[in-house]
Amino acid sequence: MSTASTSTAPRRMRARVRYNVPATIILLVCAITVAIPLFVTINMSLKTTAQAVDGRAFTLPAPLSGDAFAEAWSLTDLPRALSVSIFITAIAVVGEIVISSLAAYAIVRNWHRRLFRWSFFYLLAAMFIPFPVVALPQVQMTGMLGLDNPVGVAALHIVFALAFNTMLFTAFLRSIPISLEESMRIDGASTWQVFWRLIFPLLGPMSATVGIFAFLQSWNDFMMPSLIISDPRLQTVPVLQSMFQDQFSNNYNVSFASYLMAMAPAIVAYLLAQKWVISGLTQGAVK
């Protein structure tokens, strides 16, 4: 959408603004560095195996071919990995929004109570615990509990995001005036009803931010699924890419088609939800 609006040349009368031309040119050149790996990925994936084998990144596909996608799709059994990734991501998105918003609401409304105040700082501590530090005992424990599978990974994604999400939700909740819910309580609504009918809808923008970050983190994660999930047939899409490195060998078109299919959902989600990605990141870091 932004491409369309900015490329149509003088779209407003106040286009009299003097643009900083050197800065624009420098940034456009820098943007090429971002574009090159993505261009190469698309370019290589559209080649035939015969053409791709020479490993030249910038020769254009001749002839254009979609074979690599079909081959990558069946070779890696992508549909199965996609369903696992979608399963984990869906649980993480819903779980992160619900668990963090409930906790944040309880914390903000009971900030004067020690238990809730301390719980907040307890949850924040997760920000200082790197995953590698607790990874090994987690591998052991998920194995013992029968959670060495996608459910276990989704649960860990939820927990590791708790600190950041709860912080976002509490910051937002503090800005909601309490008078809104008091009038609802006078009408006899319970806390449960107040939360779901009033607060949760008001949290919409924050939930969108938390949701999109949950999606991106869960979808792209490599470390946790590769360590936690014991059955290779239940692996996620990014782990699949590493499992098939040897089999891709020099069939660059197949490997790049596979990479492209793995990154596409995240790119599409980003383009659709850009606003929430950007606002979430800046608010989360500055608050």
Partner: protein
């Protein structure tokens, strides 16, 4: 009463600099028990998934456990061994150096991109969309893409141009492979730093620059004397977040160099996990405990060193 509103100044204590946290009064109104039910899932999940494993793991760091079966208590022997293990010490030195270089390069580039993106440029929104995009791409996958570029494309271009130094893949050179890691990490992690800098730069009021221009300040001195001090808080955030991320580098390293050639680019996270996969549990938990302490010390040091400059938060 239920919110922490600022208390009005009291005559008896006129010189209080900051309000103390509100005390829990014994006769505060009854709490709706459902709040405990709201908070409970988060606390339980956190305790089970992080606190318990952390404590259990710390306990195992004093044993010779291999992850299953019998084990014996060995005291601090693992810790002594960790400090004598050249592979592990090497991984620490490499990770610290790598994190330092990457955090400097990433922040410098992100800062100048943010300056550019907040100035009056054409295609502002499109450019921002493009520059943020790398953030949403899986680290291991982009590492594979770059691996292809470094092993095939860069040497091919270098050969046609006759640059001998780059005609071999830098990934195969144990003195240069780290540069590839820095490049890919920068590519992938500039976006969050960039967005934070943009958020900081838009808070600097235009009038400040106008006043400086009237006084005849050059663009460079405006940047150094006005912009940088005003966004120093954001520099601190980016340094801390960035350093934390690079210390834990794993996905991109696995995809790009897999710690090689040899163990030249092995990070601490990799040494912990590879060691574990090789059958050391207790030993690697000692490594992880050391790593945890070092991470915390670095975070605290960064906060201390920058205290006073940072003007963010409440």
């Amino acid at each position: 009463m239920s919110e922490t509103t600022s208390t009005p100044p009291r005559a008896s204590t006129p010189q209080r600099s900051s309000a103390p946290p509100p005390k829990e009064s014994p006769n505060s109104p009854k709490i709706d028990p459902i709040y405990y039910f709201f908070l409970f899932p988060a606390l339980l999940a956190f305790t089970l998934a992080i606190t318990v494993p952390a404590i259990v793991g710390f306990g195992y760091s004093f044993t010779n456990s291999i992850g299953f079966g019998d084990w014996e208590f060995t005291g601090i022997r693992n810790y002594i061994a960790v400090f004598r293990d050249e592979g592990i010490v090497g991984a620490y030195l490499f990770t610290l150096g790598f994190a330092l270089v990457t955090v400097i390069i990433t922040n410098a580039i992100a800062f100048f991109l943010a300056l550019g993106l907040t100035s009056r440029i054409r295609f502002q929104r499109t450019l921002r969309t493009v520059f943020v995009l790398p953030m949403v791409i899986s680290g291991i996958i982009i590492a594979y893409v770059f691996k292809f570029l470094f092993s095939n494309t860069v040497p091919a271009i270098a050969q046609t141009l006759g640059i001998d130094a780059l005609s071999q893949s830098i990934l195969a050179n144990e003195n240069l492979a780290w540069i590839a890691l820095v490049i890919v990490h920068a590519w992938s992690t500039i976006p969050p730093a960039l967005l934070i800098y943009i958020a900081g730069l838009v808070t600097v009021p235009e009038e400040v620059y106008e006043a400086a221009s009237i006084d005849g300040a050059s663009p460079a001195s405006k940047l150094w004397h006005i912009t940088l001090p005003l966004v120093s808080g954001y520099v601190v955030i980016n340094t801390i977040l960035g350093f934390k991320g690079y210390l834990n580098a794993y996905d991109i390293v696995v995809g790009l160099t897999d710690g090689g050639p040899g163990v030249a680019t092995r990070t601490v996270a990799m040494s912990i996990i590879r060691g574990f996969e090789g059958g050391d549990f207790g030993y690697q938990m000692a490594n992880a405990a050391v790593f945890f302490v070092i991470s915390i010390v670095i975070a605290v040091l960064q906060l201390r060193l920058t205290r006073g400059k940072a003007s963010f938060g409440s």
